[in-house]
């Protein structure tokens, strides 16, 4: 990292400290923790865009798949639901996969022609009906088990931290399928395909209640750090609160936040180290060579599509990891809260603002943009109040403008993205 990078990170730390001193330490830690997670997502996107020039607009989908992993790994299993339809649901999934594989097999074995098309279609239709005959009743039975609090299969009841790598694996699997289809074609196609898959992942999370409880949300997921409520009872937290002159509640939530910050910083640190190593390795040079001139890289014997696939999977895995970490910090999976603007496009702003092609830049972008995202809302309200101060209090327009102040941040982010792209396309910490 250059001197400029150190200065920027120091400024960021000061700003966060200022938030702690003037607003509250809880807020500062909340921003810090989400920044750490965002930084991991930004690292993933930077890998795809900065290393390889791949345009992924499905970050939200990979994040959400990672979040699902937390539910499937850490939640306790629901025995009644398993008894009601567990085997049926699993068998249904297997049948679905099997019919797709059968179709692929038929496609590969038969000679080209109308017969092949019909055979593939037939296999898929038959497979669909068999699958839904098994799958439908099983999932309905599961969703009928105690629907107010359960109605899903639950997870494996394993430690929640284990869900993080699993989340990365899930995202990697989805990314592999998407990449396999759309890489090797025009670059726009990957963008459109990822846009689609992310919408579908969210639809699956919302609709497949037997798996994720859908829009009923899974709450109360085991957390990797003791909850503030439980911390309040601990004597050392109480004595800490006394020494600092805070109330116990505040001290407990700060301690808990620090715990998360430590865990996340550990993960982020390891990832940065790995990414830097990768960037400086022969592999990193190869990726940049492919990015800068695909044709000559191909002439040197590099399999461009395979390399793109690999790095696309890797970057998406980071997004999945971050998604899992986020869900385990919140302690809940809320499929309704995934919005592309927040989870996909904001990450892109982070990468562009921070500096694409520079790991430290992406991380810094994660911090700055998340900070702005949180703080622009009150600023927007203040701005709207300023604008509307001349209007009568009863004016509809004034009420409307005040209520829509929170959308100011979309505007701000868009303007920031456009300005950076135009005047400093290399970002705050440019690629070396």
């Amino acid at each position: 990292m250059t001197a400029r990078g150190y200065v920027l990170f120091a400024v960021m730390a000061l700003v966060l400290a200022a938030v702690g001193a003037f607003q509250s330490w809880q807020l500062a830690l909340t921003i810090l923790n989400m920044s750490l997670i965002s930084a991991i997502m930004a690292l993933g996107v930077n890998m795809q865009w900065g290393f390889a020039g791949l345009f992924n607009v499905g970050v939200m989908g990979f994040t959400a798949v990672g979040g699902l992993a937390v539910v499937l790994v850490a939640q306790p299993p629901v025995p009644d639901a398993w008894a009601a339809g567990g085997p049926g649901a699993l068998l249904g999934l297997l049948l679905g996969v099997a019919s797709i594989l059968a179709a692929v097999l038929v496609y590969k074995r038969l000679p080209k022609g109308r017969l092949r098309g019909l055979a593939v279609f037939g296999v898929l239709v038959v497979g669909y009906f068999i699958t839904s005959a098994v799958f439908g009743p099983a999932t309905q039975a599961i969703e009928a088990v105690n629907p107010a609090s359960e109605g899903y299969l639950g997870g494996l009841g394993l430690p929640v931290v284990l869900a993080w790598p699993v989340g990365a694996l899930f995202a990697a699997a989805v990314a592999w399928a998407v990449g396999k289809v759309s890489l090797g074609l025009r670059s726009d196609y990957l963008a459109i395909a990822t846009l689609g898959i992310s919408e579908i992942v969210i639809a699956v999370l919302k609709f497949e209640g037997w798996m994720s409880r859908g829009v009923n949300n899974v709450t109360g997921i085991d957390r990797p750090v003791t909850r503030p409520v439980d911390l309040q009872a601990a004597p050392w937290v109480q004595s800490l609160a006394d020494t600092l002159g805070w109330d116990v509640q505040q001290a407990a939530s700060v301690v808990s936040g620090l715990g998360y910050a430590g865990l996340f910083a550990l993960v982020l640190g390891a990832l940065i180290w790995l990414s830097e190593r990768a960037w400086n390795s022969p592999w990193g040079r190869m990726m940049r060579a492919i990015r800068d001139n695909e044709v000559s890289a191909r002439a040197m014997g590099k399999d461009v599509t395979q390399r793109h696939l690999a790095i696309f999977v890797l970057g998406s895995a980071l997004c999945g990891l971050a998604g899992a970490m986020m869900v385990s910090m919140d302690g809940q999976l809320t499929p309704g809260s995934y919005e592309p603007l927040r989870f996909t496009f904001l990450i892109w702003v982070m990468v562009i603002v921070g500096g694409s092609g520079n790991n430290w830049g992406a991380v810094l972008g994660g911090f700055i943009v998340w900070f702005l995202w949180v703080q622009v809302e009150p600023a927007g309200r203040w701005f709207m109040e300023l604008v509307t101060s001349g209007m009568a209090d009863t004016s509809d327009l004034k009420a409307h403008l005040l209520s829509s102040a929170s959308y100011m941040r979309l505007l701000t982010m868009g303007v920031a993205l456009l300005l950076m792209l135009r005047f400093a396309p290399r970002g705050l910490i440019p690629e070396r």
């Binding site: 025009r186 395909a193 579908i200 639809a203 456009l418």
Partner: protein, 336 residues
């Protein structure tokens, strides 16, 4: 067996809505395909610009309604469309001057354009929400039906009914007129021909004295008209919610790619295929099957292939199939 009743049910619940939805998609996909063939990038701000255009139309509609001006039984929004068009054409041209023109001059990679269009999308989205919020706004007025289920049943004496909503009829008719006008423009006028020339071979077009900036301007103007019409018709049909417009991006892209990016006719065909597939796969075929199958064999379930929530999955599957087997689309779009 009751073929007529089956057909009527099918039309009422699937064919007519799909035709209307397909027309809305077609107008959107035409814009995407035009931008693609002239400016050569995937315009991600399309959905949100449609939303903003519709918002402008809604604003004008409310003003007109407030002034007591209307064209009942047609919705007032049709009268407001020109205001929306002017606003959006100015907006798009401003976006072009402020954002895209620079990248054209430095001959940036297509991905940079896409990124810039993301920025424009963000800004547009923010502006739309500033005006409209995130809730649903309905702005349809005038008569609701051209003919409703009861009229149809009384008239034909069939057991099943068919309704044609005003919004659907207007959508289909408008889309037809616009498409014909667009093809006339592209094939018969000098400006349209210069657009096609520019799209086919940029260098040759420049050589023969076609002004690229003029071509680009015309493209944005046409896109603006298509956008506002598509958005308004969609809003009349289904109500206005900013987020739904963003979600239209995927079916519109799928339609444009399916037909072959850069091919206007392909975009239209693609749009109707996507709409029919989306509706067909998520449609509950029970009643239709009940009429068609012999007595005693009526299905007990809904006979719905996929729940409605998965309509994007259908679009996506179409996209995947096209990408796997025929990346240039049905009508061989641009060399991709």
């Amino acid at each position: 067996m009751d073929f007529l009743n089956a057909l009527v049910t099918l039309s009422n619940f699937m064919l007519v809505p799909a035709l209307a939805y397909g027309s809305q998609l077609a107008l959107g996909a035409l814009g995407i395909t035009l931008i693609y063939s002239i400016l050569r990038f995937a315009h991600f701000a399309h959905g949100d610009t449609m939303a903003l255009g519709t918002a402008a139309v809604i604003g004008a509609t409310f003003l007109l309604q407030g002034a007591g001006i209307g064209i009942a039984p047609l919705p007032t929004a049709l009268l407001a469309v020109p205001f929306g068009v002017v606003a959006m054409v100015l907006y798009l041209l401003a976006a072009d001057r402020l954002v895209y023109r620079y990248y054209r001059r430095v001959r940036a990679k297509p991905m940079i354009f896409v990124m810039a269009s993301l920025g424009v999308m963000f800004v547009t989205n923010g502006i739309t929400r500033l005006f409209m919020g995130v809730g649903e706004t309905r702005f349809e007025d005038g008569a609701r039906f051209v003919f409703n289920v009861r009229d149809f049943r009384d008239f034909t004496g069939l057991a099943e009914g068919l309704a044609l909503r005003n919004a659907q009829a207007i959508t289909i008719v408008t889309a037809l007129i616009v498409m014909v006008a667009l093809f006339w423009f592209l094939n018969r006028t000098r400006a349209g021909k210069s657009m096609r020339a520019y799209s086919d071979n940029e260098d040759l077009a420049l050589l023969s004295g076609i002004n690229p900036e003029r071509v680009v301007t015309i493209t944005w103007v046409i896109t603006g008209i298509l956008l506002v019409l598509a958005g308004t018709l969609y809003g009349l049909d289904k109500g206005f919610r900013a987020f739904n417009y963003f979600q239209l991006l995927l079916p519109m892209f799928a339609a444009a790619i399916l037909g072959g990016l850069g091919n206007p006719l392909g975009a239209i065909v693609g749009a109707y295929v996507v709409a029919l597939a989306e509706m067909g796969v998520t449609f509950a075929w029970r009643r239709v099957a009940g009429h068609l199958l012999p007595e005693g064999l009526e299905p007990s379930g809904m006979v719905q292939l996929l729940p409605v929530d998965y309509k994007f999955a259908v679009t996506f599957m179409i996209l995947v199939i096209v990408l796997l087997f025929r990346p240039t689309g049905i009508f061989k779009g641009k060399v991709l």
